[in-house]
Symmetry: C2
Subunit: 455 residues, 2 copies
Amino acid sequence: MDLFQSFTKHWKQAFPQFQQDNSLLLLAVSGGLDSVVMTHLLAEMGFPCYVLHVNFQLRGAESERDENFVRSLAKATSMEIFVERFDTLDYAKLKGMGIQEAARTLRYHWFEEKRKECQLQFPDKKVLLLTAHHANDNVETVLINFFRGTGIQGLRGITPFQKDRYLVRPLLPFKKEDLIGFAKIKKLAFVEDSSNGSNKYTRNFLRNQILPQLEENFPQVKDNLLQNIDRMNEVAEIYQLAIADRLGGLMEWKGQECQVPILKLKKTDQLNTVIWELIRPFGFTVQQIPELIKLMEAPNGSCLYSSTHQIIRNRKWLLIATIQPQENSFVVIESSDISIEFAGGLLNCKTITEPFTLDANSLKVMVDAKQLSFPLLLRKPKSGDYFYPLGMQKKKKLNRFFIDQKLSKIQKEAVWILESNQRIIWVIGMRIDNRFKCEPATSTALQLSFVPKGT
Amino acid sequence: MDLFQSFTKHWKQAFPQFQQDNSLLLLAVSGGLDSVVMTHLLAEMGFPCYVLHVNFQLRGAESERDENFVRSLAKATSMEIFVERFDTLDYAKLKGMGIQEAARTLRYHWFEEKRKECQLQFPDKKVLLLTAHHANDNVETVLINFFRGTGIQGLRGITPFQKDRYLVRPLLPFKKEDLIGFAKIKKLAFVEDSSNGSNKYTRNFLRNQILPQLEENFPQVKDNLLQNIDRMNEVAEIYQLAIADRLGGLMEWKGQECQVPILKLKKTDQLNTVIWELIRPFGFTVQQIPELIKLMEAPNGSCLYSSTHQIIRNRKWLLIATIQPQENSFVVIESSDISIEFAGGLLNCKTITEPFTLDANSLKVMVDAKQLSFPLLLRKPKSGDYFYPLGMQKKKKLNRFFIDQKLSKIQKEAVWILESNQRIIWVIGMRIDNRFKCEPATSTALQLSFVPKGT
């Protein structure tokens, strides 16, 4: 079977949902052998395609040559072409990235932009991005992952179809030699990339130095590694289902917050792996596994952070929650304000005169209006805060109050304070200050009601 | 922490059940660095140890040197020593094995023999075999498996404790450099093995040629691979539990025979992997996965063989059963025999004279004695066999009879025949021949009762 037949067969098996009449394919074309072969195969199949080419302007005249070559390829295959030029070096410097990383970021960002544009233009079509990664790339990727250290995910190789990115890699089952053979028969021209970026260097090292030596001792090594990839993909699926099951029994969601019972977690088998799968989705690293194991024994309130999440030990639980971005934590309330929307929710103020009924609850309180001096201040607690909890004649540190109330760190961080002239009126949603309570003599009260965010 | 401390700590963590006062350790000692270090570490810990040394007589004077060296090491550490000499070359030729494989077979066979002897001698002790495999061996093993092609099992590396073989590898967490450091400090002598067997060659190639190059590009590659091993061990455990669960829902055991419903198997996700785990324990190879997939569509009665098992398509089922070794399939029965034990079970003969009651069932029948001519023959069916099933005047091919009875291939292969003068008397356990049935005129009958094997 020639490459075109194998390719057609593979497409039908792997991507039956994408047909010539319902799809628009955006081909990422560098002008190298792989992307040129991909372009010809899809043109021959009769798919509507656009060519996307990025000129990174990293290789002077060679970059221009490549751009011109890809333009002529698009013309020859009657495909529309979009070209984008980037000052890759500038961008890399600006972002403090390596050149390869900068190029990849710019490339995929632009690809996704173009894809969305096309999708808007052709809402009835499935608009997909295609890259020309092939079996040899896959073998190299798996070797790199393996040597750098990886779990089972890294041994699955390159994903043939990434649904969330509308990204298809149709050449993945085919080897470089198959592509070369096709290019020869079809007399296809292509350009050679002389670049030697850092990641490319590692690939070249494996491709040109390591794999040929391995093949002398393990003649089928490439095929063996490709078969490993197939096996690992199935094993990983079975593993993922099992892990989802295990985690389901460990994680209790309360709104946005997740609770993990420490005792149950400690008793779990394959602890390192379960912890890894538990913390991974929240942006934690593999190096934090031992730290989480320590956290289970650490003092109450101890914390572990990723860039987006925190895990807090709260008595018998580990609480996983997003790190709240620092909001504007001061809101000034004038006497005329009746409804104040703030980061913590909504605060409604209503002046009430006698006779009034005290239908107070933790979210709706009444304070003696004559004790208030406007403007009031809505703010987050700060260290050193104290107040006189309703019913007490002695002042109490706010932090002590939180401890007595058994607030978790997360709950504590969500608390807001209402104050008047540097005196706390209300620890919102929890307790008013004794100094502001309505007395028998109170003739005017301010009714405060709080609607927490997300309720 | 020096090696002795780390080793002591590791032993206590990994093998807490084996203590100096309840264990006897048999150390496999070649005289090389690794086994010498292991010997000294365990001597220093105060374990009762015996030294086992195998002289494969493959390296002439060097083999003798090694044996002498190990004898003196045993003396120096006050350990009893057992030495065994093998004609490894002869054995390899005889068995058609490679030298390395022959040496391994001989070695582990003898080790196990010695272990059992010692266990008999010291029934109160836990008698264990110890080998000096270390972290570098583990890295090399995993690389070999990976390059040769493997599933997740092959990425788990060397097993630190193989319970069924009473085999412990206490040096597995330690690197070669740790062992070298210990030997230097303690000024330990050891011998160098100049052999270059095929497996050793692959190891030397990885150790001396590939790993140093990899380390230039992936400085931590050995540590990364060791961490991969740890991860894969946990992943594999989780995977194994999930697979056991999946297989439990697919395999129905009927005695020694296992039935797998084809429809259910076809619908299973991760089919290749599930099939592999299904057939692997029965000695099938990974190459037979596609054959099993074909078998599900193949004509009824089609078969797939491993060296020990067969899988037969039987209508909606795949039957997995052991291949019956070809037993002596002819047994001669004299008129004086009353109880015949044969491969299929037990046949009892009893002569009965009038008056008799016909309490026949499929396992206990009566035939007319005057129709019989001794000796009778007990045998397996052969092609072309026919008989006159009870109640029929026409002869019937035995094979046709089996089909009508809806016998599976396995059931068919278990059937025995009793014949007299080349006429079938009884398809044992199924039907007697019409020609031998008791008639009203019958005055003497032979009562035959059959007890199938394993009941």
